[in-house]
Symmetry: C2
Subunit: 301 residues, 2 copies
């Protein structure tokens, strides 16, 4: 998977950085996660092909997470898009987006497919033969979901040497990769374990922004490879985090620890913090493998 | 007057430039004209004080002219604004903006005052003791207005030497500046023309974007100091201009000539044109005093 962080700042676009948007590359998909103002310029800057984005996931309807969406949809139209575009987001997103298109008399000639969310339990919202996406209900000032992206297990990898040694015909390969044993013409059965290697472990990514400290979510994201968790504030501003239903770096790290993730990325920083080393210092005692988000950062895992 | 051009490109934000937004400084006012995506970052970049903007004029509801408005209003709220904010724009702007605030449960604590427009004739929409703003109905794919900003005539300037020579008491100065003659105690009348100088000529600015070629508008903007007129296309793409109800550089120059303006600024360029000298070459035969808009350009007049 490749995670392109396009914007990782809270509240308002500034000269310091962009509001939230990310692109997750996963098994031929380009999933756009949140879409703050300026996202389309960030997409161009990082040379991400607009035409490959078919699914957009919006966590919640605060402006810094979706005010870039109307402009992006309009630009898709200007670029002559024909493929349908799937938008996943809180109930209400359809009405507001369609009204924006209506007042501009700017209907799209491609199909917009809305998947409006209102549940309070995690649900699967996208699934194909390679990837599953589920919601992670979060606790914020308005209805908000994080998103969990999981690769499906890949087929077993053919052990080329073993297959040659047993002189297995190509016709069997498809079934072998699916995990089946081989029954040879001479009646002998060769166990699949002798003919295949374990496939790469399926990867997973959890996006949790915006949210107050919610220990419960660690159950839903157990063992993910990468967790992006908001840390709008440092502990010195814990009172602001509590008031605005955001998290501190310490709280994000505690979630990462409880969920036993591999890597924690902190983001959604308040622009009050000019330097960010303190976020690392605050998180490390609770969870050591932590990185800071940055606009333009690419994480490959 | 000072005109800060924040964005002068058509259709979509890009790495090349920003969609339409300008700030006009006129007699203590900072008027924001149109507000494409990214305007608030441009305001910061050019160090324009958000708190001094009390009036926003939106020409029409295509995204490249107003998708930056919801974010700007949200940022005003984050900055703790208390003063009321006046928004002038086509009928519908109130409903769409309030819906965006509603879905984010992000009501402003300052008052939003909407002035919705739907007329087809020029009307005065703002007036105080220094400035008058009127609409310039334009011809575009959706309901659109340009805006005409006129300084009111200033008071006459006291001729200090003459006043001293006639030994006129300070008590008379207020009335003298208003153009009145002075009746001295000895019964002598001193004509105002002897005591005052002409004030500076009131300045005026006309903003016309987006519009098809509309010769009729020159009557409404006769003799303005500066005309900003859209020139989305060159004459080589006149068919596109006609189809999309935009203007070419030649057409903009013809309006400037017919209206007898002092300076023409061309803007709202399609991003298809990488170099812009051709806009000047096309306009000059019809109107010589022409400049190109540029993001970040400051015009003082």
């Amino acid at each position: 998977m490749k995670l392109h962080i396009l914007g990782c700042y809270a509240a308002t676009p500034s000269l310091m950085g962009n509001p939230t948007a990310q692109v997750l590359e996963i098994r031929d998909h380009l999933f756009l996660i949140d879409c703050g103002e300026g996202t389309q310029v960030q997409l161009r800057k990082h040379r991400i092909k607009f035409s490959r984005i078919n699914h957009i996931f919006i966590s919640h309807l605060h402006g810094d997470h979706f005010f870039g969406l109307p402009g992006l949809v309009s630009t898709f139209q200007l670029l002559g898009r024909e493929k349908e575009l799937h938008i996943y987001g809180p109930l209400g997103i359809k009405e507001v987006l369609l009204m924006l298109l209506k007042v501009g008399n700017s209907w799209t000639s491609f199909r917009l497919v809305f998947h409006e969310l209102e549940g309070k339990d995690p649900i699967e919202i996208f699934k194909d033969n390679k990837v599953i996406v589920s919601t992670i209900p979060l606790s914020h000032r308005i209805y908000t979901n994080g998103f969990l992206f999981r690769e499906k297990p890949r087929e077993r990898t053919l052990n080329i040497e073993a297959v040659a040694q047993y002189k297995i015909d190509k016709a069997y390969f498809k079934n072998i990769k699916k995990g089946k044993d081989v029954l040879l013409d001479n009646g002998e059965t060769i166990s699949n374990a002798l003919l295949t290697l374990d496939p790469p472990k399926p990867k997973s990514y959890a996006y949790c922004s915006d949210t107050a400290y919610s220990p419960g979510i660690s159950e839903w994201i157990k063992g993910v490879d990468v967790l992006y968790h908001e840390a709008t504030f440092l502990g010195t501003e814990a009172h602001l985090a509590a008031k605005t239903k955001h998290s501190t770096a310490e709280e994000a790290a505690k979630i990462a620890k409880a969920a036993d993730v591999t890597l924690l990325i902190l983001g959604h920083f308040s622009i009050r913090y000019k330097k960010k080393e303190a976020f690392i210092r605050e998180a490390v005692p609770y969870f050591p493998n932590v990185q800071l988000a940055e606009d333009g950062k690419l994480v490959i895992f």
